[in-house]
């Protein structure tokens, strides 16, 4: 499968874009010409020049430096949340799917209850109640996103557990940990990773969206959504303040969409073998 991946131009382009973003985020402090948070009230809304490659914003801060630094906060938060929901979702969903019974019933009803709230609204309300701030934003988005993982992992575990090779493992004297880590996890891991990759795009949109509403990182920290929020009063006269952070989100979003579109073609035969493809795709449609 891994060799096939690179033959898809869409996946290749998507991954190159991602790589670019990652490199920028890692090297951000070395790439910025100015302190992104430093206010210069004597140089507001400057056009691009040698000192400020993309001009300055409404507080005279270097737009370019802010744009670059923001990548750290958006991507960092997205990766952190991804890690949290991956661990929580896979554990909970895996336990529910593997052991079934009352545990499964309890977990499923909790998921059903949380799904009664539209996801965006739940995140918005939790973030709102906890109050603005990056930590609260991470809690709120994680609280919503683990559900998808738990559901999909549960379903995958159930469908793999029904496979005859798991029954065979029992008859060969293997115990639960052996079955879970040797037979079930390796078979669903590729699909979890695919789902996680594609979900990262959604996470970035969610984080930016909540920050745009003023619920994420707080000023003066730079984050693309927050930068858009700050630019709102001024974008009619200075559209660049609004165009650039939005474009930054759009391009990384496109990278994930392209990867997703490419994976869809590749995954189909193998996933349908395990009856998983439709479930993964259906989950992602939401």
């Amino acid at each position: 499968m891994s060799r096939k991946l690179w033959r898809k131009p869409m996946i290749l382009i998507g991954c190159l874009i991602l790589l670019f973003y990652m490199v920028v985020a890692c090297l951000a402090p070395a790439l910025v010409p100015n302190n992104p948070d430093e206010i210069h009230l004597d140089s507001l809304f400057l056009p691009a020049d040698a000192t400020y490659p993309l001009g300055t914003d409404f507080l005279g801060r270097c737009s370019y430096s802010r744009l670059i630094m923001a990548s750290r906060h958006t991507l960092g938060a997205a990766l952190l949340i991804e890690g949290i929901v991956l661990v929580v979702g896979v554990t909970i969903g895996g336990l529910a799917g593997y052991f079934k019974g009352w545990l499964d019933k309890v977990i499923i009803s909790i998921i059903d209850i949380l799904l009664a709230f539209p996801g965006i609204i739940l995140a918005l309300v939790i973030a709102g109640m906890l109050g603005p701030g990056m930590k609260n934003l991470i809690i709120a988005v994680s609280a919503v996103h683990w559900i998808g993982y738990a559901r999909i992992v549960r379903n995958m575990v159930i469908s793999v557990k029904e496979k005859e090779f798991v029954t065979a493992a029992v008859s060969l004297g293997s115990n639960h940990p052996q079955i879970i880590f040797k037979h079930i996890l390796p078979n669903i891991l590729p699909f979890i990773l695919v789902y996680a990759t594609l979900n990262l795009g959604l996470l970035i949109l969610n984080i930016a969206g909540l920050s745009f509403l003023g619920l994420g990182v707080q000023p003066p920290t730079a984050e693309w959504g927050a930068m858009l929020n700050e630019a709102r009063p001024y974008f009619r006269d200075y559209p660049a303040l609004m165009l650039l952070p939005g474009a930054a989100i759009l391009v990384i979003g496109l990278a994930f969409q392209l990867i997703g579109e490419g994976l869809r073609d590749i995954l189909s035969p193998r996933a349908s073998q395990l009856g998983l493809e439709k479930r993964i795709l259906a989950e992602l449609e939401e």
Binding site: E164, F165, T167, A168, S174, K182, P186, N187
Partner: protein, 322 residues
């Protein structure tokens, strides 16, 4: 002796899969279990290994009741009884090589060094007619017959005394089927293993079994020696099954022309014969009293009117009843 007593199993929301089955497999014997799809024969096989838990009834191995065994005791028991599965591509983990699949039972039951394990794997592969080179292949790189050989080797790895073969050849081509059946005969010969051989195909069963049990709707309706199958089958269902086996060179057979409605029998009431709706010799007694297995010549039959010829006087009763 491997024995099941009065096993019952019902799947949640589903039909009764196994209804009061008692059966014995004697050492060295091959018991063939036949029946149409969905009659509960696979479930019965899994119950014997406790891969499914029976609702009631008991299981005994050489007189020891293992129905309630757990943990280590059950693990040790499974060393004696092994299973070969129907779906040879589904019963092998697609992400493990042949060697890794074979290592699993070896690691679970024996403490072997890497070299010993490798030697064991080579012997196992050889004993099922595979090359040592196959050990590094993944299941999808093997043919159906080769996969089934791996499945058999895996079951043999723990040197079981009993083997339950759940439709081991039904997903294979006819020629491969013959080879695998040959392999089973060899294994049986060499290792003195007793088999429960489950198949929907009577012609397959008559080739490997010493005794044949016929299952219908979760119940055994007839148990008889394999060599007497054709001439002494006494239950109308067994007779129907035998007539339905296509024979090469025979142009037309006297199979009942009445279309079989497989959905009909699923709702049979709890009393009365479960074959009632499809039987042409049923009468009032069959509707109220469930027949149990009784000796009839060399066979055991669960029928109120066992025998070779259907009696004409009861014919037509069924139509007037409905």
């Amino acid at each position: 002796m491997l024995e099941a007593r009065e096993l019952y199993k019902k799947y949640p929301g589903g039909a009764q899969a196994v209804r009061g089955v008692s059966l014995r497999i004697l050492p060295g014997e091959t018991l063939g279990l036949a029946g149409e799809s969905g009659c509960g024969k696979s479930t019965l096989g899994k119950l014997l290994l406790r891969l499914e838990e029976p609702d009631s009834g008991s299981l005994l191995l050489e007189g020891t009741d293992y129905t309630k065994f757990t943990g280590k005791k059950m693990r040790n028991l499974r060393r004696k009884i092994q299973m070969v599965f129907q779906d040879c591509s589904g019963s092998l983990n697609p992400r493990l090589t042949v060697a890794q699949s074979l290592s699993e039972p070896l690691n679970n039951y024996f403490s072997l060094s890497a070299g010993e394990r490798e030697a064991q794997i080579r012997t196992l592969l050889e004993s099922v007619g595979l090359q040592p080179g196959h050990s590094q292949r993944f299941p999808h790189e093997l043919s159906g017959g080769q996969r089934q050989r791996v499945g058999i080797a895996r079951a043999l790895a723990v040197q079981p005394e009993w083997m339950i073969c759940d439709e081991p050849v039904s997903s294979l081509d006819v020629l491969v089927q013959a080879q695998i059946l040959e392999l089973f005969a060899e294994i049986k010969e060499e290792r003195r293993i007793s088999l429960l051989f489950i198949s929907h195909d009577l012609s397959v069963l008559s080739r490997v079994s010493s005794k044949i049990a016929i299952m219908y709707e979760g119940q055994l309706v007839e148990v008889l020696p394999a060599e007497n199958l054709k001439k002494q089958a006494a239950h109308p269902y067994t007779q129907e099954l035998i007539r339905a086996v296509p024979v090469l060179g025979l142009r037309r057979q006297s199979v009942s022309r009445q279309p079989v409605d497989e959905t009909l029998s699923k709702e049979t009431p709890n009393h009365g014969c479960s074959y009632l709706a499809r039987c042409n010799r049923a009468n009032e007694q069959c509707a109220v009293q469930r027949p149990v297995l009784r000796s009839y010549g060399t066979a055991q039959v669960a029928c109120h009117f066992p025998g070779q010829v259907s009696s004409n006087k009861t014919k037509g009763w069924i139509t007037s009843c409905f």
